[in-house]
Symmetry: C2
Subunit: 422 residues, 2 copies
């Protein structure tokens, strides 16, 4: 029988196997009083099962407050972390992503035996591809629409995040396109506010982009933030599509899986998936989600690009975590002949040309968007120099040319590396 | 100028006022390099402002990992918790709930200066009621449809959570209705799985409920779990409505705000809002959301009933937190003549008649659903006795009759109190 598998990091003063059994019961057939209908045959057929329990370490005390304390037969209390795997029969669970979310990440995180619980990964069987199709564009489609091949897309963000009028936004887009940018995104704070309405913004920006596209022979990609009420997202997409846009952006946590499915299915454009709010899902290492687990839902649901933060970012995330996220975006979720559901990772946050070398070394790929805000526009010689410096850095990194060598060969890169080192 | 206000609990080794200013910048006009366009006039008009900073306490060390360390002029590092208030001009922000979520709860929780950040409350100006209407039914509408007045609705959950066929579900509903139940809900794990498809379940359950309604003169309310892909949620609602159902259930975290807006607007039935997954948003006291802040989004978006856990629940939540949540559900979000957006709190999790007295004392209201699973069905004298015991408990509590006195007057209540005390 095909099963959906999920792995967790748990922390408890129970025997980890007992705690895992409680999780499996809570998320399938159980209740706190054993009912007559729960026969063994019934459990075999419908219950979640504990497939693996691997002890990791003992720790001094509980990571999260509120957990129960379970002494052993000698009265000793030991707090342990373990990795466990549960699985659910598809026969009972079905193929609905929102229901999978309620099952693998529902009423688990506050179970009393747990002083920590984090979803590490979810292994979706390929049956899910009969209902969800994953990214419509992905890496190849994004490259086709943007005309950028065999190197990262150099991206940026409209800043200030809020306050620019449609006309001012278009002027900034004009400068960025003149400077050679490949990809521009709205800020997640800017969707359809009174001061910069969506329609006005698209109408002001797209003629500028079309003009540059005529000049360049390929169209810089602008991800218009359609995030909002569901019918408005569809309308905004339709308007953007009509006016020649080649990408929409959606804030995943603002919209949720169900709303995202609606717009992703409707969309005829790549969906740039923004993860703002990710911190509340992941900041504590013993709570919430790993990016790898969480991103699989959105990949299956139709995200084409996913934000993964950047190396030496301005947030709290470690580089190792950023790298693991980016690599997972580029690793197929399903083996051929199924759709791989790979997505383009988006590096951003405090990025400058300086991060190109170890970003490349970490992901061993140029199938990504490297987005820099101030890291491009604050280049002392202007936006064009900022874009070119980032491109030079990636060309060098991908060709195995060292940072010092590359800097000696490009004044714009050298200036950038010196300026942002400050 | 009207502003949206949000309060936070923060923890940092910076001066709290400086950390608050970084939050305001990040969530409005800022970027990590100051741009030319950011004039003072510009900031006054569009930027978020820090309206209050109240120090709470110094603590020994950071609650969350990854935070920056900021020594004072003497090289001393002090970790502090503070409550702060930020506000945003509506003129710039607009009235879009998903955008508000990206603004007040976006890229904040992983800001490097913060070793803790929790959204405590959001004060929506009544302008939001021009776009969102709040609960369509709320307390009065729920009472009207269910015919239960001047006392709590006695509720329960279909258990086992999964594994029952539509026919077995209907048989359980028959027993529960025969026992006098007011409210029954699907489990959140049960939506439209192969073994118990939604349509089959509604078609099996509703004739049973209609038969009891004819007998009773009022219709027990069944919350059918419509959670899923957006178009399927609407179809499921329509089917349930056609077949005489009086409530639908939605798992908020599985669906997200945008998907929820879609089904809540479409719905002609009260929406029972399930908060499964709430633990990952709230379990760490220095991260995520308070229920009061989080629930305001769903109340405005159209939830009619909201789960608040229960006193002495089987999860980790303290009673004080449960009480604060329940009281906030019953407290208007807006003053007359605006819609109050009050919702019916749902007490559940390890509930028995024993909790009626202090639940009533805490909320000073009977406008709630008290849901018990095993707390009803495991009553030694059967389901009817279980329902009546819970009703007796609430009647006594509301009339100021003590637990001992009530137990002496009702054998079914006495039996329940003794049985569940074990």
């Amino acid at each position: 029988m095909t099963r959906l598998r999920a792995s967790y990091l748990i922390e408890t003063s129970m025997r980890p196997a007992d705690a895992a059994a409680i999780m499996a019961g809570e998320q399938s057939t159980g209740t706190f009083v054993k009912l007559a209908a729960e026969t063994d045959e019934f459990s075999r057929r419908y219950a979640a099962s504990v497939d693996d329990v691997t002890s990791i370490q003992e720790i001094e005390g509980p990571s999260l407050p509120g957990a129960g304390v379970y002494p052993d037969a000698n009265g000793k209390v030991t707090w342990r972390q373990a990795q466990i795997e549960l699985s659910w029969p598809l026969d009972n669970l079905g193929l609905c992503l929102p229901t999978v979310l309620a099952t693998v990440a529902g009423n688990l995180f506050e179970l009393r035996p747990m002083s920590g619980l984090r979803l590490l990964d979810v292994c979706f069987p390929p049956e899910f591809l009969t209902r969800y199709r994953g990214p419509k564009f992905g890496i190849d489609g994004t490259r086709r629409l943007s005309g950028v091949h065999k190197r990262p897309m150099i991206g940026t963000i409209i800043k200030p995040s809020v306050g620019l009028s449609p006309q001012q936004t278009a002027e900034q887009v004009d400068q960025l396109c003149a400077g050679g940018i490949d990809f521009i995104k709205d800020d997640e704070l800017q969707a359809d506010g009174p001061h910069c309405p969506f329609e006005g913004r698209v109408r002001a920006v797209m003629p500028v982009i079309e003009r540059h596209a005529d000049r360049l022979g390929h169209k810089p990609m602008f991800a218009f933030n359609v995030t909002g009420d569901p019918e408005l997202m569809r309308k905004r997409h339709d308007l953007a599509l009509d006016l020649g846009a080649t990408c929409i952006m959606v804030s995943l946590n603002s919209v949720g899986i169900s709303g995202f499915l609606d717009i992703a299915r409707h969309s005829q454009l790549p969906v740039h998936a923004h993860r703002n709010g990710w911190g509340y899902l992941s900041r504590h290492p013993m709570l919430g989600f790993s990016f790898i687990a969480w991103s699989r839902f959105w990949r299956l649901a139709g995200a084409d690009h996913m934000h993964v933060n950047g190396l030496r970012n301005k947030f709290c995330e470690h580089d190792a975590s950023v790298i693991a996220s980016a690599r997972s975006c580029l690793t197929p979720m399903f083996a051929p002949p199924h759709a791989p559901c790979t997505v383009m990772p988006v590096f951003s946050s405090g990025q400058t040309p300086e991060q190109a070398w170890d970003s490349f070394a970490a992901v061993e790929s140029v199938d990504l968007i490297h987005a820099a805000g101030g890291g491009i526009t604050a280049h002392p010689d202007g936006i064009g120099a900022g874009v070119r410096a980032l491109r030079h850095a990636w060309d060098a990194a991908a060709q195995g040319v060292s940072k010092m060598q590359a800097a000696s060969e490009s004044l714009e890169l050298r200036t950038a590396l010196e300026f942002f080192e400050r």
